[in-house]
Assembly symmetry: C2
Homo-oligomer: 365 residues x 2
């Protein structure tokens, strides 16, 4: 029997590659565990003890469905940001919400714009829904907002994706530059402003929290709140866009443990502030290491630091050697950033392991 159960043409055309190979998968392949896991921008400084306590309590209550409205978390987030609950959409991480945004705004064949080498999962969704991706290179290691804007105009883009502070560079654009971009957007184009790392950013990089129909802002509990494995992110948008999310989102997508954990962590901002301070100290440590080893670092407003190895081959060699020596880091794949590698701010202990191994690697180059 010939199997005629074909996938849709969009799905059939998709590659089988996935956005990120997890460190566990690499460990299974190489047959050893990493001594320092510094490649996924996970928080080295853990989770709020109050959140852990709340999650432990909730573990015995999972027989009941989670609240599909995410009511309590949504109320707390709206109070936190001084906006209305109908302007908040909770999802299973920013990844989930980016996919929904593409589905909502970009029909197959229409265009989305991003920097060349931008967040892989956004690109995964653009491809996944049969949309066209137009990219512009980073310039001077920051998102080139003018070039992205021109590309959006030229390609009649429905979405323009910018992460600020940026991943994978760690750099940022000032709030006034973002606001100027918003004012210049074509009237058919929505800005997806991915602020996953916002807690680590200088205040000057963060636009004022106003609700604007031209922008969807994305926040997460994965980074400063230390809850990457929990899958909670949220979008801030005007009510019309939030209602659009409600038409397509997986209503039971955020599980009970995640809901109560995020809520408790939001109520423990002292913990988050402490994490941010520790990350700042760690970034300085990485700057020192980079200077000592002739690998200058890019400015970072995130919980990772991008080291400049000068050219691609050297960066790839460093990445491979570090992995061989038990240190997991990642590197941007697209020029001009492919000369760099990206290291999450670890604990003092992890940073010491990283420094020791990197020193050996550089000696061997």
């Amino acid at each position: 029997m010939t199997d005629k159960r074909e996938f849709t043409s969009i799905v059939e055309a998709l590659p089988t590659t996935i956005p990120f190979v997890g460190p566990e998968a690499i460990e299974r392949r190489i047959g050893r565990t990493f001594d320092a896991r510094l490649g996924a921008n996970e928080s080295a400084f853990g989770v709020s003890p109050k959140a852990v306590e709340a999650m432990r309590r909730e573990a015995s209550r999972v027989a009941c469905y989670n609240d599909p409205e995410n009511h309590d978390l949504k109320m707390a987030l709206s109070a936190h940001h001084g906006i209305r609950p109908v302007q908040v959409v909770v999802g299973a991480g920013i990844d989930d919400l980016l996919g929904l945004a593409v589905r909502m705004f970009v029909a197959p064949g229409q265009t989305a714009v991003a920097s060349h080498g931008a967040y892989a999962t956004f690109i995964y969704h653009v491809d996944g829904f049969g949309c066209r991706l137009v990219t512009r290179p980073y310039r001077d290691d920051v998102n080139d907002l003018d070039a992205l804007l021109s590309a959006a105009k030229e390609s009649d883009a429905r979405l323009l994706y910018v992460s600020n502070p940026d991943n994978p560079t760690g750099t940022w654009r000032e709030a006034e530059d973002i606001e100027r971009l918003i004012d210049a957007l074509p009237s058919t184009c929505t800005l997806l402003l991915d602020e996953a790392y916002v807690e680590f950013a200088p205040a000057s990089a963060i636009p004022r929290m106003t609700i604007d129909p031209r922008v969807i802002r994305f926040r997460t509990f994965s980074k400063a709140h230390g809850m990457a494995g929990l899958r909670v992110g949220y979008a801030i948008s005007d009510e019309r866009v939030a209602q659009g999310f409600d038409k397509v989102r997986l209503h039971f997508g955020v599980n009970r443990v995640a809901q109560v954990g995020a809520l408790a962590s939001l109520g423990d901002m002292d913990f988050v502030c402490d994490v941010v301070e520790r990350v700042e100290a760690g970034r300085k440590d990485y700057d020192r290491i980079g200077r000592a080893l002739g690998l200058p670092t890019l400015p970072s407003g995130t919980n990772f630091v991008t080291f400049d190895a000068g050219h691609r081959e050297r960066a790839e060699m460093i990445l491979a050697s570090l992995q061989e020596k038990g240190v997991f880091v990642r590197k941007p794949g697209a020029p001009p950033l492919d000369r760099c590698f990206r290291v999450t701010v670890g604990t003092a202990e992890e940073r010491a392991i990283f420094e020791e191994r990197l020193t050996l690697v550089v000696k061997d180059l």
Copy 2:
């Protein structure tokens, strides 16, 4: 400024209604909590203590991302079912996987077939991806497989959805009938066999676990494992279909706590068997109550029992009165099942509350 940031035509056309209003939302609206929550087919018999223990341990580890490959759980599931790991796809509940299946197989304008009044979330996804839904009524309170098959042939359907045992009836078709359906499927149509309630079903209702390119089987930890709030389900399919899921799924969609909880529960099948026995006892209790009050019950191979109130108005009145008296149940909305209401098997205590309140309701009719 006129806002020209339009949703795609598919999303624009979607209603703002959602598949299920959660009991929490009803409680918020009516301003009181339910004494007995028997409307969402949640397990009244809780979660494996081993799973609770595993989840509690994991609560302090959520700073790390979950394994996007769901490796450990997938290995355990494949061992459990005697199939290969590449034939298992783990998702955030069956809801998640049903949406992906629609996206994979049904292009906008193409057709999916289901019984009239079938699982609302499947229909939500069919609508959500701009596909056409063709339905056939239940006959004698079971899925009318012949009618569904004819509809699939006539409409050139890409998917045929059947839940077995069925929700919202609780009834089932025999395995041999399902197998005959599979053999008769058009060569372009895939059967989505939703087996969410399979643990509660008679053995004769469960087709042999063979991998078949014509079928995707869906299982869940929400029901017998008592983990509805955790969001873990899985699909069993041939490798080609599983690879299709990998092209479109949210790779980090199943959180760490859910992964370890499901894994631990799968390792505690004694607990699950005990739940199944308790549910059987509860079903008998409901049968007795139904006979005593002149509300006959449908046969059930699930963790709920469907009571026949004779006609729609009477069923709606019972539903509303029960809710007023603090008991949350649901009812099918579509004829001919709209004459029924559906009650989850609760604990002995919850069943006593239900019996007491239902007795009052019936007296007042």
